[in-house]
Structures are given as C-alpha cells and as structure tokens.
Assembly symmetry: C2
C-alpha cells in the first residue's frame, strides 16, 4: 500500500487538522468528538442542516460546510459511520432555534447512528434519507444507497434553510429532490482502505465494475472494458429506466470522479452523457464535473441526473461558500 | 490501460467539448486551432494574459480562464506543447489594446513555440517564464521546470491585469512572483499516457520518486517509501534550501495533488508542511489544497511555498471567476 500517511491511527486526525487549517476562514474543527462547523453565524430560527458519514469520500461532507449548505458535518473513521455522540455534539453546537435536519446516506450504520442521535436530541428534528443509487432495483431489501446525489440535496436544502424555510419545508423539499435524482457509478479499479492495506476487490485488466458503490462495494455486474461511449450508454440508460426524464425537462448533470480518474476523462464522460440527454430533448441547464464524492483512490466515476424544477434551480444557484463549492458569495 | 476514452485520437476533442459545455457560463472553446477564451468582456487597454501547455494537467490551464486570471489558454495534445498557430489565434482573439503577456512553463517545446508565436504577433508582447521546480539546482543546463507554482503567477498577474496594470508592470510582477515561489513533487506511482498505453516509468511497491516532474519525468532520486512526516521533511527542506524563508514572512502554501491521491492525504500533507513552517516562524496566511496541476493519473503530490508581499497577497485575494478557482465574484 502506497499512501501519504504516518499511521492508520493518526491519519484522520492529521488530515482533519490540515483541512481545518487550510479552510480556517470558513469552518472550525471540533475534536473529541469530531465535527466540522461553519464559522459564519446563522439567523435565529434557521434550520441547522447536518450531515456526516464515513471519511474517505472527501470533499463530501466536510467540504460542504459553510454559508448556504451544511451547518455541520460529522466525519467517521474511513468508510465507517460517525457515532451518535458526534452527531449530538454537532447538533448542540449549531442548533439555533429552528430545529435540526440530518441528511443521511442510506447505509445501515449511518441510519442507525443518526436515529440514535435524533432520539437523544431535545429539539425538533427530522432526517432526510438519500437513496439516489439506481444500480439496485427500488425493491432492494435495504433500499438504495446514497451516493453522489447527496451533495445536490445538501446544496438545495442548505440554500432553502439559509433563506428561512422551516424544518417541515426543508424535509419536504429534500425528499422531493431525492425522488428526482438518480446516480450510477462505474469502477476501473478498486480503492485501498488504509487499515486493510490491500485493494478491496480484485479486478482484471480488461474488466470494469458497473454499479459500484462508493466504498468499493461490488456492483450490478462486471463487464469487459469497453469504449467510453458504450460505458456512458449503459449508465445513462440505467438512469433513464429509473427516472424517465421527459422532453423539455430541466436537469442538472453531475459527473463525479471517484478519486483517481483525471479531469480530462470526467469532461469526456460529461460530453457523452450530455449528448445522450440532449438528443432526447432534456435540457441540461446546470452542470458539475469533478471529484466531489470520492472513494479514496478508486479509478472510476458516476453520473447523476437531477430533474430540478424552477424552485430547485433557483436554490441550486443561490450563494454558497464552502471549501469545495463556492459561488455567488 | 484502463481509461474512459473512445480513442486516443478523439480524446482531446471530446474532453474539451465537455469542458466547454460544462462551463459555458465562463468560457468558450475555439476549434481549429484549439483555444479556450473567457466570455466576459475586458476593458479596452487591458493586458491579455495567455497561457497554455500540454494537456493532461487539468484544471491547469483551461480551468483558470475567466475574470481575474487568464484571458485564454491553449491546450496541446497530452504532454505536448501547443503549436504557435494556437497561441497566435488565441492572442488575436483576446488582445484588446494592452498587448499580450504569455505565461510559459519552462519546457523546451513550450518555450520555442511561444517564442515563434511572439515573433509572429504584431502587437506589444512579453513572455513570463515559470521555473519554480527546485528539484534541480539553479545551474541546471535548461533551467528549472515550471510546475504547480504556475497557477500562482497566473492568479496574481491575472488580477493585476484586470485592475489595469500595464504590460511592463505585469511582466515585472510575474518575474518577482516566480523568484519567490518554489515547488517540489513526489510520486508514488507513474502516470499512463494514453497514446503509450503503459506507465511512463516502473517503480517498486516500496519506492517513491522524489523531485518528479509533472509529465512523469524521473526526479532527483528514488528512495524507500517512508512516513508522511519523513517525506514532508525532505520536500520542505529542499524548498527551505532554495527559498530561505525568514521568520515573520507571509506565505501561501499550496499542496497540489497529481491526480490520483485522495484529498484526505493532501490535507495531511498540508498539516505537516504548515507545521514545519509555523515552527520556523513563517506566517502561512494563504492556502490552496487540491488537484490543480495534475499528471493524468499519477499518485503523488507537490508542495509549493510562495513568499508573497502585501501587494501580491492583495492580488491573490482579488476576485476570480474561473472553472477551477472562484472567489469574490
């Protein structure tokens, strides 16, 4: 395993400390327990938007803390849910009279720990479950996983909260965005979890994993390495089967790198995916291309289509000032 | 070779087309010859700032075209200099009465082609040579290479031009920033150039390449894989030997990923490097951490220290609106 680390025990602490120093204008780090909170004060009555999850997906979620997005984020150990005491401490630090909305990717550990935190919390609160990964059918026993679409919910709900939407409105809006957001990923390589020290899965030189998860979970199927056009056809058709976008609908197209795929290739994937939907009359009017929801050093990418209505587009465009997304501020 | 491509012949075109679509609010792509130019109009008499180089280093330089930074960028084929006709066409498209400043990384092909373009150009022009890589001694026969410090010159000189500095002032300022900027990189893996189809160099599981170039050129020396602290000590000491930062000096610390190294590790490197200089009394007052000057899919990073005076800090902070750097706009 070749990584820039001192030890697997100190990796998270040293990395969070560097993140906090590099972005001291936007966020603060709390230790024992770990959470990141925004510096900028909020208006009394603003809903506190909090997310979190295992580390290794940076900039998700720490990089999305700041004005117009998250009030706090709770980083767990690598690919491991944060603990309820982190969530509780974060909530107590940023709650400002408007209650707390937890944004939770649909994984058993995260769901359980956020539920425990919610029960312990003595203020109004709601949880928003993100389940945008269409690689499994809707009927899958544990539901669908939350992947790269998560940041779209965080951005849109975060903007609504910043503009004064109340807890119930934020919850309803987030559920609506989740319903119109579909993602699917493809891996060219496995990631290597530091504590494990070897690739999570083996994959041949001529194979790719379709529908892979963001922790290197096996996906829908393994197919032969093919052209970018064939790969994008596969992914976009999976999204179409699920989301069924209509001619004339407006959409945000997000191409997300898993960590080790060059921006050149992500822009090529964006080109092919945008052609696919433009040919079907879908109006790709917003875009986001880059490494936003990563899987450590995995090579690969995901495509997310989000069918945003006018209100959602306005909230997507609203000012945001975080380490990883910044506009209008 | 596992990459998202259709063919090595169409990779650049398809990728540039995707980049232009994803950032149509900021830039435009010209084909035949290729260049990217900013959408936003400039004031008459503004110096046109133009850079360019081989592709494969994205977001450098295309991602830095926009308000407050570059007026145009010329992307060559992968790791190959753009041609003089690209530079000439870009200059003719964006020149607005203030002359042209070419920002050129110090590589033989780039230097030669920008010189040819400069000779063909019928307006006042200057060239700024970037040579921030301290892995070779100052006396090296072809001079030092331009690496991750390039974007710092582009940002500061771009801001000066936007604020009305004339051609001579931009040239003097850029040369001054170059003199106070030092970078050095380390590779954990080679990159793979698509047309070659295999890694540029072989490297053992327990070896790292110190002083590596951004095209996978061999560096100063190959050493045994060591801890992050030992690696950062090596790199920061190399920079200290060259730049000799003094107690109380203000500095920008830039940790740049080469493409395949997770943000977690880059923030860890930032933490260790900032500790090194803080212990020596250097005032790390600006930071930039992420994948900005990449080498396709190479795992590794570089550290850049730039000793900025008050004027340079003010220009670094000035508004910028590009695909990859955005603040204050």
């Amino acid at each position: 395993m070749k990584k820039f680390i001192n030890s697997t025990e100190t990796l998270l602490d040293e990395s969070l400390s560097g993140f906090a120093k590099a972005h001291a204008d936007i966020i603060q780090l709390n230790n024992q327990p770990h959470f990141i909170k925004r510096n900028s004060p909020t208006s009394p009555g603003k809903v506190a938007i909090i997310s979190g999850g295992g580390s290794g997906h940076e900039p998700l979620h720490n990089g999305f803390v700041g004005i117009g997005m998250l009030d706090a984020a709770c980083p767990g150990q690598i690919f491991t849910s944060p603990t309820p005491d982190q969530m509780l401490a974060a909530a107590q630090a940023v709650e400002n009279g408007g209650g707390v909305l937890f944004i939770v990717k649909n994984y058993a550990g995260d769901v359980m720990n956020f539920e425990i935190a919610a029960e312990m919390l003595d203020c109004p609160n709601e949880s928003l479950l993100v389940s945008d990964d269409v690689s499994f059918p809707k009927t899958h026993s544990t539901g669908r996983r939350g992947v790269a679409g998560t940041l779209i919910l965080e951005k849109i709900v975060g903007a609504a909260a910043e503009q004064g939407a109340d807890l119930a409105a934020c919850k309803i809006l987030g559920d609506r965005v989740n319903l119109v957001t579909a993602s699917i990923g493809v891996a060219l390589s496995s990631c290597t979890v530091p504590a494990l020290g070897k690739p999570t899965f083996e994959i041949g030189d001529q194979e790719i994993e379709m529908g892979v998860g963001i922790h290197g979970e096996r996906g829908r199927e393994r197919i032969a390495l093919s052209t970018a056009t064939e790969i994008v056809d596969y992914l976009t058709n999976m999204i179409d089967d699920d989301l069924n976008p209509q001619q004339g609908q407006s959409a945000l197209l997000h191409v997300n790198g898993f960590g080790a795929t060059p921006l050149m290739e992500l822009h090529l994937i964006y080109e092919l995916a945008s052609r696919h939907w433009e040919q079907r009359g879908v109006n790709i009017c917003r875009s986001l291309v880059g490494n936003y929801t990563t899987s450590l050093d995995m090579a690969g990418c995901s495509i997310t289509l989000s069918l945003l209505d006018d209100e959602m587009l306005r909230l997507w465009d609203a000012p945001v000032h975080t380490a990883a997304l910044r506009w209008g501020c």
